[in-house]
């Protein structure tokens, strides 16, 4: 086990950010942490690095207890922070060198580390440019380069693809896979189902400071695999219909998003659902059935969309 978190509690005053959370991550995984805004993903990773004081629980990294070996542990971790954190006035090369030195690299090792990090993130040709001249995607890549210069055993990436173009995003996803092939364990935090589904070998869904589901992509989908997801577009959906639908035997979940009513059901026939709408006097404009995605898993488990306005 590369990480073992037991019964972790973190409070901000009265607010419970991490709620008795336990989690183990095996070496060699690309571990996806999926959860909506404010779920506690960043807080969780901060506690793993000892950056945030915890109220309860134990954290073991690389088999060592965090509290006693914080410095040692940090030497082998690279954290790509959610917010881009580099000096605008230093060049890409100088930024990476700064972090290389902070991780204790000197001489040849430092030089090689920087060159590899630049190459890995595809920034070699931009190494003498300053981030102020970079696009969002390039900055994100530099943000990553600063965290891998010391060739850590564990890399934590906190939403590394926020606000960038598809090309940069693919580049980053590919490099995460490459890093993993180089014997690096990766914790990948994201809002994006597709990303997590594409690269992660294990996925944990976090909500309100707790892990509400964990497994491979397939295992998670199987949670609702016998289910059917129906989207019904009606002219003016309201909560009376949701209540009625939820009370039907066989309906696991029902929710409204704009004009669309989304229903997860297992035994029921489509007829029963549609007749409920008709009884309510709703005008149906469109009906679609889908097989469940990770997004549906999430929605069913938490009752909320992963990203606001994403559906």
């Amino acid at each position: 086990m590369i990480i073992e978190v037991k019964d972790l509690v973190k409070r901000y005053k009265d607010f419970l950010a991490i709620d008795h959370l336990s989690l183990t991550i095996k070496e060699g995984e690309i571990f996806g942490l999926l959860g909506p805004n404010g779920a506690g993903k960043t807080t969780l990773t901060n506690t793993i690095l000892g950056l945030t004081a915890i109220d309860q629980g134990t954290i073991t990294v690389f088999g060592k207890e965090l509290r006693k070996h914080e410095r040692e542990i940090k030497e082998d971790i690279g954290l790509v922070p959610q917010d881009i954190a580099v000096y605008d006035e230093l060049t890409a090369y100088e930024n990476i060198r700064l972090f290389g030195k902070l991780f204790g690299l000197r001489g040849e090792a430092l030089k090689n580390g920087i060159d590899d990090a630049l190459e890995f993130t595809g920034l070699t040709h931009l190494k003498n440019k300053k981030p102020s001249q970079f696009s969002g995607g390039m900055k994100r890549r530099l943000n990553i380069a600063c965290a891998i210069v010391h060739k850590p055993k564990l890399i934590i990436m906190d939403e590394p693809t926020v606000g960038i173009d598809p090309q940069s995003r693919n580049y980053i996803l590919e490099s995460v896979k490459k890093l993993n092939q180089l014997d690096c364990t990766v914790i990948y935090i994201s809002h994006y189902m597709e990303e997590v589904a594409a690269i992660c070998s294990q996925i944990a869904i976090v909500d309100k400071g707790r892990i509400i589901a964990k497994g491979t992509k397939e295992e998670l989908s199987r949670l609702i695999v016998d289910d059917q997801v129906i989207s019904v577009d009606v002219e003016a959906p309201d909560y009376t219909i949701i209540e009625r639908l939820k009370n039907l035997h066989g309906v696991k979940d029902a929710s409204i998003d704009g004009q669309t009513v989304r229903i997860v059901l297992n035994e029921l026939k489509l007829n029963t659902v549609l007749s409920t709408f008709l009884e309510e006097g709703s005008t149906i404009t469109k009906v679609a059935t889908n097989t469940p995605t990770l997004e549906d898993v999430f929605l069913t488990l938490t009752g909320r969309a992963l990203r606001e306005g994403s559906r």
């Binding site: 950056l51 410095r71 881009i84 605008d88």
Partner: protein, 367 residues
């Protein structure tokens, strides 16, 4: 020492930092030593004798200082309000006594510790001394005496006076210049608070601690980097003062360095305190400016505290610049390290309080 190096590098990258710390003080140092604008004392003369001789005395004082007419009645006010630096009273029968070779003493009043007037005192007593010698050697012959006096004034005098006046004026110029050195070092408040706020704003402050770097090490390296910059500034400006302007740093230039260095520690502590109080780089710069210039004014960096109103003098005890300037004045006017220990301790106390407030405030934010 990665953070230390990085800070020095960041400092060197921006010309503005140089301008603040070195160039501005340098400009004022040059101004301090050029011309004699600062040294002309204002002297009030009350002439009770009204003779040719008393007028001649008045004339020769005029070559050394700005002469203002005062009366017996308003001389106190004039002095207190600093309209004049000193008042010289020429008594009745001054001329008669002089020619008869009898002892004369001019009464003079001056503001306490005003070094501006000391030059004039020296000048006048030297002048009287020489007049006495002339009176004795002309045996009370009025015509001969005045002839000798004219001759004396035309040739000998100016030379003699400027030479006695030089050391006093040079000290004053040096103090003037050191005021701006202190001002330059006070700019470290701005540099340090800005650097720290930038680290915080760019989220680098948090990111640094994802590496094996500890908060303690970060703080120490930061403080060391600013003190190093201060030391380089002090040594450069002191070298320019001594080599370029023959500044009178007093008997112990090393003590001058010590005072300036201790003052830099106070600057750093204020900078760090500011960074713990504000929310952005802009606020840090604004608050720094709000503190630097008024504190420099109150502390006497731009003009002697003695010319400021009494209430300001009272406030000035509570600003560190005052203690820096006080210590420097003592050193320049002949004292040694022993005499400024108290001032140094007070400066250190200022720094300690500011550091404590800052760390208290930081832990407050953290929790």
């Amino acid at each position: 020492m990665v953070i230390f190096q990085n800070n020095i590098k960041r400092f060197l990258m921006h010309k503005l930092n140089f301008v603040l710390l070195m160039v501005i003080p340098l400009i004022f140092i040059v101004l301090s030593f050029s011309g004699s604008w600062a040294q002309k004392a204002k002297v009030g003369i009350i002439d009770h004798d009204h003779t040719l001789l008393s007028q001649k005395l008045e004339q020769s004082i005029k070559t050394q200082a700005d002469v203002v007419t005062v009366t017996d009645r308003n001389k106190q006010d004039q002095l207190i309000n600093s309209k004049v630096d000193s008042v010289i009273v020429i008594p009745q029968k001054f001329t008669q006594f002089m020619l008869e070779g009898r002892p004369i003493k001019l009464q003079s009043y001056h503001v306490q510790a005003s070094n501006v007037s000391s030059g004039i005192q020296t000048f006048v007593s030297g002048y009287l001394q020489d007049m006495k010698i002339m009176a004795v050697s002309t045996h009370g012959d009025k015509n001969m005496f005045y002839k000798a006096l004219d001759h004396y004034q035309a040739n000998h005098f100016t030379l003699h006076v400027t030479s006695t006046d030089t050391s006093g004026a040079q000290k004053e110029k040096t103090m003037n210049a050191l005021g701006f050195v202190i001002f330059g070092l006070f700019m470290i408040v701005s540099v340090s608070s800005r650097f720290i706020m930038e680290d915080i704003k760019l989220k680098l402050y948090n990111r640094f601690f994802t590496t094996p770097l500890s908060i303690g090490s970060y703080n120490v390296q930061n403080i060391l980097s600013y003190l190093t910059l201060a030391t380089v500034t002090i040594l450069t400006l002191m070298a320019i003062l001594v080599l370029g302007f023959h500044a009178a740093l007093g008997p112990s230039p090393i003590s001058v360095f010590l005072v300036l260095f201790t003052f830099s520690i106070v600057s750093v502590s204020i900078g760090i305190l500011i960074s713990s109080l504000v929310k952005s780089t802009g606020q840090a710069t604004a608050l720094s400016q709000l503190i630097i210039t008024p504190f420099a004014m109150l502390g006497g960096c731009f003009w002697p505290i003695s010319i400021t109103p009494v209430f300001m003098q009272k406030i000035s005890d509570f600003v560190p610049t005052t203690w820096g300037m006080r210590a420097l004045t003592k050193l320049v006017y002949g004292n040694t390290l022993n005499d400024v220990i108290i001032d140094l301790l007070i400066l250190i106390a200022f720094a300690a309080v500011f550091f404590l407030l800052a760390s208290w405030r930081r832990s407050e934010i953290a929790s």
